[in-house]
Amino acid sequence: MAKVILTPTQTPTLFLEAENITPDVFAGKNAAEIAALHGFVGKTTVTLGDYFTVEGAGGQTAADTTVVINGDVSRVKYIGMKMSAGELIVNGNADMYVGGWMTGGRLTVNGDIEAFAGLGMTGGELIVNGNAGNYLGAAYRGDWRGMQGGEIRVSGNAGSDVGTFMRGGTIVVGGNIDVHVGTHMEGGTIIVKGDAKSRVGGQMVKGTIYVYGDIDVMMPGFQYRNDADLEVDGDNGRFALYEGDMGERHPKRKGEVIYGQLYMKY
């Protein structure tokens, strides 16, 4: 696998928009060509070379390209946006839209990330060894198609509005999570291993949410059904199953109403 190593050389005064940092764009390019790729700071057009040293070269395709960013890119947006294959590793913190609209490949951030990561994601893996911000795996504004496939794993905490309008795929948050989890969810799975605050599964149509820790305030539209012994993401335990949101519309399958499912671990 061909490898490209980017090392930040300066912190952008405003923010750098760098949707060109993906295995897809880097594939087939040598270091000089990659350094010449455009980025944007406000209304000015810059090159990646203005902000990074570039070593190595892309492979023939995205699938055989690995991109490594060694350093802090907490003022760089859109890293890995729309990536479809290959691998991208960020050794440092990153800003908004990490892996936004990604369709495949693996994106790992060894650090914290800001909001809107995995927005509208349809495939691939997004792994965050750190904390994530708000709107993780959510839908873009106005869209009813949030995360539709793939997997997001956050080892630390996540912000609010995780999995809004989620329709498929899996989000695993190792730590705690802020308000509004799986709002308008219509498929897929969210696993929260720490505590949640309030508004878990509000307006949920379908899909599954697991919470290992506490929920401060339950939504009134969830009703207790039964207990179940389950294996969830490699963890075994006894869960209480709630179904809801009873205030929301629900589809029927074979004459039976399908609800959203909320499992709370004992």
Binding site: A139, Y140, G142, D143
Partner: protein, 573 residues
């Protein structure tokens, strides 16, 4: 002003009877002229290209409150499709509901010079005009909606045609409107209580009047006034399986009415987006649904006073928007997507819902078929106009694709065989499989310019290259002798005009927009005899039931209609 001579193109003009002949087309002082009359013209070489009068759109939703609701509540319709401004062009955005700039540039690139905004809520007329003003290049008019207006309902309950006409004349003047639009007559007022009118004989709650009386009365008032355009109707029961009977009932109301006008208009009723009104069967399932386009168009073929537009479904993700409030509510229950609704005091209502016409479903494919059938069954193409009821059945940018389907049986078969999942079922339940007609360029010119111009009462300005008409000409990179091999060439050519001249100004040059033109707003000023009764009714309603004062109602001032083109109508006799 520069004169132009467009040489060597294949010219199509059904008004002049020119069918693909290579004749030179001249523009002098902004008007069409005889080729011999221009001296020192700029020559446009149209060798190997198709030349027609600029297109005229009889029905599209491109400006006004519900269009803007469609824009503002659908950021996802703009995701990743914005384009930067360049040269004289502003930035553009939006797919199904483009910004005003993209709308204008799209029309220009498709070779259009005029567009009729299909539904203007009177109380929001200012908004509609602000958008029209900001849409460069094309001339536009707007049709205020009347079919649920309290004045109209009250007058027509008593069959008071003269009062209805006086009110219409007053409202056209107040709103700078062009003609009479009637959407789901009575149904939208019923929607004020969450109800609807499902047949032409349902009674509107409280107002005690029926859709039949409303349609009939509006036709009569229209002809009493002698307006340029006829009564423009979107009937009851839009989109409902089995609705073709309601459509026939509606169309038959026009029997016995004759056009009375000085504008060369031959019809008294225009039925918009006929596709949505030609459904048989009792549900959308492939077991029950069937096309009734033939039955409806057969009827229209048998009379001479009705025109229509198609409203072809283009199988896209789009945004539906109509003054048919109850229909949009119904739609939101079918697809569970976001639903905007605005009921407008004393006047009308509207709804907006995103919609995906998914080619993998039977019904979307069947709707696609019905729309095309409406275009293929017509005997006189001067009375059937190509639209997508943009953006309801499909976005504006898809017009050229619709032309391709109408002009090429091969393109239709390709859809049925390869794109639509239920092509065979659709062939069974619809007529599309039996139709091998291919619309010719000559007929296309009827269905996209000559015909709509005539039905709008604008045949003396648009739709033909006849000397004296507006200097509006489109040149398309389509060679009718050699480009017939591949239907894709139709779609490309009609979306990428090589040249557009509008009012004698060169707007598109070699495919690029080079001028923002001299955009005009068309409206109709109808003069009627003094009518103290109606005047009193108006001031009474404002005093008691409107939330704006009568003095703050009229659209006035240079900043709303900066460049008006007023058509005067004298109805005092």
């Amino acid at each position: 002003m520069t004169d132009y001579l467009i040489k060597n193109g294949f010219v199509y003009d059904p008004i002049l009877g020119i069918n693909g002949d290579k004749v030179d087309v001249a523009i002098k002082d902004g008007k069409m002229a005889d080729a011999g009359d221009v001296t020192n013209p700029t020559i446009i070489d149209a060798t190997g290209m198709t030349v027609m009068a600029a297109g005229v759109d009889v029905h599209a939703h491109v400006a006004g409150p519900k269009v803007n609701t469609g824009r503002n509540f659908r950021p996802e319709d703009k995701l990743f499709n914005g384009t930067a401004g360049s040269g004289i062009k502003r930035m553009e955005g939006g797919f199904s509901v483009p910004t005003v700039f993209r709308t204008a540039y799209l029309y220009a690139r498709m070779g259009f010079g005029f567009s009729m905004e299909a539904a203007m809520p009177p109380l929001y007329a200012r908004h509609t005009h602000e958008e029209i003003r900001d849409t460069p290049i094309i001339d536009q008019g707007a049709l205020p909606v009347f079919g649920n207006n309290w004045f109209v309902l009250e007058y027509l309950k008593e069959n008071e045609i003269e009062n209805t006409a006086a009110y219409i004349a007053w409202l056209l003047n107040q709103t700078k409107g062009y003609g009479i639009k009637c959407v789901n007559p009575g149904g939208t007022e019923s929607w004020g209580w969450g109800l609807n009118c499902e047949t032409v004989d349902d009674v509107v709650p409280y107002f005690d009047v029926t859709p039949r009386q409303i349609v009939s009365g509006l036709i009569e008032a229209n002809e009493y006034l002698g307006l340029p355009h006829c009564m423009h109707v979107h009937g009851n029961g839009l989109g409902e399986p089995g609705n073709y009977e309601i459509t026939l009932d509606t169309l038959k109301i026009a029997e016995g009415f004759k056009p009375q006008n000085d504008f060369g208009r031959d019809v008294v009723l225009h039925n918009t987006h006929l596709q949505f009104h030609c459904y048989g069967g009792e549900s959308y399932s492939s077991k029950f649904f069937e096309s009734k386009s033939k039955e409806v168009v057969d009827y229209i073929n048998s009379v001479d006073n009705i025109s229509y537009d198609l409203g072809v479904v283009t199988l896209d993700e789009t945004t539906t928007m109509t003054a048919d409030g109850p229909f949009e509510h119904h739609l939101s229950h079918m697809n569970n997507l976001k639903w905007a609704n605005t009921d407008v005091e004393l006047e009308t209502g509207s709804g907006v819902v995103p919609f995906i016409y998914n080619p993998k479903t039977f019904i979307a494919g069947a709707q696609w078929a019905v729309g095309l059938e409406c275009g293929l069954f017509i005997k006189d193409p001067m009375r059937a106009y190509i639209t997508t009821d943009a953006p309801n059945a499909g976005p504006l940018c898809r017009y050229p694709r619709v032309y391709k389907w109408l002009m090429s049986a091969k393109a239709r078969d390709d859809m049925l065989d390869n794109t639509l999942k239920y092509g065979d079922r659709i062939r069974e339940r619809c007529y599309i499989g039996e139709l091998d007609r291919e619309i010719s360029l000559y007929e296309l010119a009827m269905m996209t310019r000559a015909g709509p111009a005539k039905t709008l009462g604008l045949g003396h300005m648009f739709g033909s290259l006849k000397p004296g008409l507006e200097g509006d000409v489109a040149v398309y990179p389509y060679n009718p002798e050699t480009d017939t091999d591949d239907p894709e060439k139709i779609e490309y050519a009609f979306g990428n005009a090589a040249y557009l001249i509008k009012g004698g100004k060169l707007i598109v040059k070699e495919g690029e927009i080079v001028d923002m033109g001299n955009k005009r707003t068309f409206w109709v000023n109808a003069t009627v005899n003094d009518n103290p009764m109606v005047e009193r009714d108006i001031s009474e309603k404002f005093r008691r039931y409107y939330t704006v004062t009568q003095n703050n109602y009229a659209v006035e001032g240079h900043h709303y209609v900066p460049n008006p083109y007023v058509i005067e109508v004298d109805a005092t006799k």
